[in-house]
């Protein structure tokens, strides 16, 4: 009676012909980790936190067969759970409205907070300042300053010591040691050749400059570079180092773009400089980021963005991509022709303190797939982003001031929260589209003498679905 019915139904098929598959690269972007092996635990002191964005955790093999009798109970529990989720989501939504624009994707792995992991009698004396993590290959390095007798600022009798914690097995074990050179390693960077190579900033060693270590930080030697009174942190990409130097002869400052092969221990001025580089001592939102021969230099006061594709032989100005009153805060070029930027209103200082309004101003993330010629605003609903790292045209990571880490795998059309609970302003290092490390600190004690601090490293190798955590175990002295 009814094969004719199926034939008629077939004629209503909205996609009757065979569709071509998507480029496989768009799928492999998301699955750079091996199946299941990515969830292997590290060491014995670690636990895995499942249930990340998308909830793609492995289903236990026993579940389909043994669920039968438990189904009604689970059904009731699930209903209660759904009601609770709706109520919580409602509360969270109102809280989000009070705080500002929403964070995309309200799920994400809730990791144990750093303070809950603090051992009863462990931790390093004092406060830890400026902990930052960088990784390359199997090596991770955290640099931080131990500040004893510190309260919230740095009083005259405070004592600062520079430390570095290094892991050479992807975060499983850590070794902490004093930075023997006294380098203040802001602008820490590791190149891609798996050699531990570090750029540091030495404020007490005469002229500030960059220093490089080829032996895990045991000894340093200065990077050959034109004399400057200040530098911006280096960006390393595809074997090339890019940075900015500031020189102030005769009360007139000048910023210059510096560049060199990462393996050469040398930085030199590019053959030409972008026109109209600022002459202020503290230029507004002057940012440089490079990847290989290509680099971007943005300047906020005049709202200019320059691009070089030939190691600084020539510079082309392109339209400034940020909305009115906002400037480029983060600039992250990727290996293809893509570049990601985060725009935010500049901080305005009043009596030496940043305006809360400006700090809280929303962030607009923009992306270009064609070296800055055209820009898209994939998702404007960001808030207080402090780090944005593009991995490819489709994959990027962003971190907010509150320590929430988000990730997109579709060019920014949607963002998923992949980590929350690591405390405020943890340090984020992105190694690939699926691998990231977050280092956060926890402090106990209320006075300068009783205060103890510990570092916790959270690491994912599957794009944030699962996170492991490791206590770095700082010396107690």
């Amino acid at each position: 009676m009814s094969d004719d019915l199926l034939e008629r139904l077939g004629r209503e098929n909205p996609v009757p012909e065979r569709m071509p598959a998507l480029p496989i690269g768009s799928i492999l972007d998301r699955i750079d980790d091996p199946p299941t092996a990515a969830h292997a635990h590290f060491g014995t002191a670690e636990r895995t936190n499942g249930g990340g964005a998308g909830g793609r955790s492995e289903r236990p093999a026993w579940r389909p067969r043994r669920l039968g009798l438990l189904a009604p109970v689970i059904g009731v529990a699930a209903t209660v759970g759904v009601v609770a989720v709706v109520i919580l989501a409602s509360g969270a939504h109102h809280a989000a409205r009070r705080a500002g624009p929403r964070l995309a994707g309200a799920s994400g792995a809730q990791v144990p907070s750093p303070s809950s992991l603090l051992p009863a009698h462990g931790g390093m004396r004092g406060l830890l300042l400026g902990a930052s993590v960088v990784g390359s290959g199997s090596t991770l390095r955290v640099s931080f300053v131990q500040c004893t007798n510190c309260v919230t600022t740095t009083p005259p009798d405070a004592r600062e010591l520079n430390w570095a914690a290094t892991s050479t097995d992807r975060g499983r074990h850590w070794q902490t040691e004093r930075e023997r050179t006294g380098l203040l390693t802001s602008g820490l960077a590791l190149p891609e050749n798996h050699d531990v190579w570090q750029l540091g900033y030495a404020p007490h060693a005469g002229d500030p400059g960059f220093y490089v270590s080829h032996n895990s930080g045991r000894t340093y030697r200065p990077v050959r570079a034109p004399s400057h009174s200040g530098f911006e942190p280096v960006t390393l990409g595809h074997g090339e180092a890019w940075t900015l130097g500031v020189r102030c002869p005769h009360y007139q400052c000048r910023s210059t773009v510096l560049h060199g092969p990462a393996a050469d221990d040398t930085l030199s001025q590019t053959p030409t400089q972008p026109p109209g580089m600022p002459t202020h001592r503290a230029p507004i939102a002057l940012v440089v980021a490079g990847y290989g021969d290509r680099a971007y230099v943005s300047e906020g006061a005049q709202r200019r963005l320059y691009i070089t594709n030939d190691n600084g032989q020539s510079w082309n100005q392109t339209a400034y991509p940020c909305p009115a009153r906002a400037v480029i805060r983060n600039l992250s070029p990727t290996g293809d022709d893509a570049v990601w930027i985060a725009c935010q209103a500049p901080l305005e200082t009043r009596h030496g303190r940043s305006s809360r309004t400006e700090q809280n101003s929303p962030v607009t993330i923009r992306r270009s797939e064609d070296v800055g010629r055209h820009w898209q605003t994939p998702d404007p609903s960001f808030h207080r982003t402090i780090a944005l790292v593009g991995v490819s045209a489709r994959v990027a990571w962003a971190e907010s001031l509150t320590g929430v880490v988000q990730r997109t795998t579709n060019g920014g059309r949607s963002w998923q929260t992949v980590l929350r609970g690591a405390g405020r302003s943890p340090s984020l290092d992105i190694e690939s589209s699926t691998t990231a490390t977050v280092v956060a600190s926890a402090t106990t004690g209320t006075t300068a003498h009783t205060r103890r601090t510990e570092l916790v490293a959270y690491r994912t190798t599957d794009g944030g679905t699962h996170w492991t955590h490791t206590l770095i175990h700082l010396p107690t002295g």
Binding site: R8, V15, M19, V86, H93, T409
Partner: protein, 178 residues
Amino acid sequence: MDSRARFEAMYRTHGGAVRGFVHRRVRAAVGDDVVADVFVIAWRRMEEAPSDELPWLLGIARGVLANRRRGEARQNALHDRLAASALPTTEQEPDVFDRESALMQALGSLNRLDQEVLLLVAWDGLDRAQAGAVLGITSGLFSVRLHRARRRLRRALTAQQDPIEQQAGDRSKMEAFR
């Protein structure tokens, strides 16, 4: 063949079919995201993949689509609760059965399982065994369900075209029971 090579071969063979399956059921703007999700899950479960991979992949796709529908239903319910607030509205998933054809209207009046049974054959071109594997049932059971779904579709179509006659038919059936 290692997992990676097998996955890539599977993607080359079935990527288009899975994409077509998904795009027949959701709007184009989100279809490719769903396809990507399907293959991410497939990658994680490669060890479970049977030799006939297409029904297995389509089964995963059904799960992803169902999750998506449930998520949207929850979101819509939340929207209703927060009607006074300024939560941004999500774009409603257009129902493929909203089209004007009487046949599609009749199909839309069936339950979701009947719809799926019919579409796996009529749109996705699967045979009974494959379609049964997508739904996790035997080919024999699938044949029974297909037979019943066709009968319900025929009845719904008839009711739509001649509702008075259908009501009369229903009345005569009821009288026959008395």
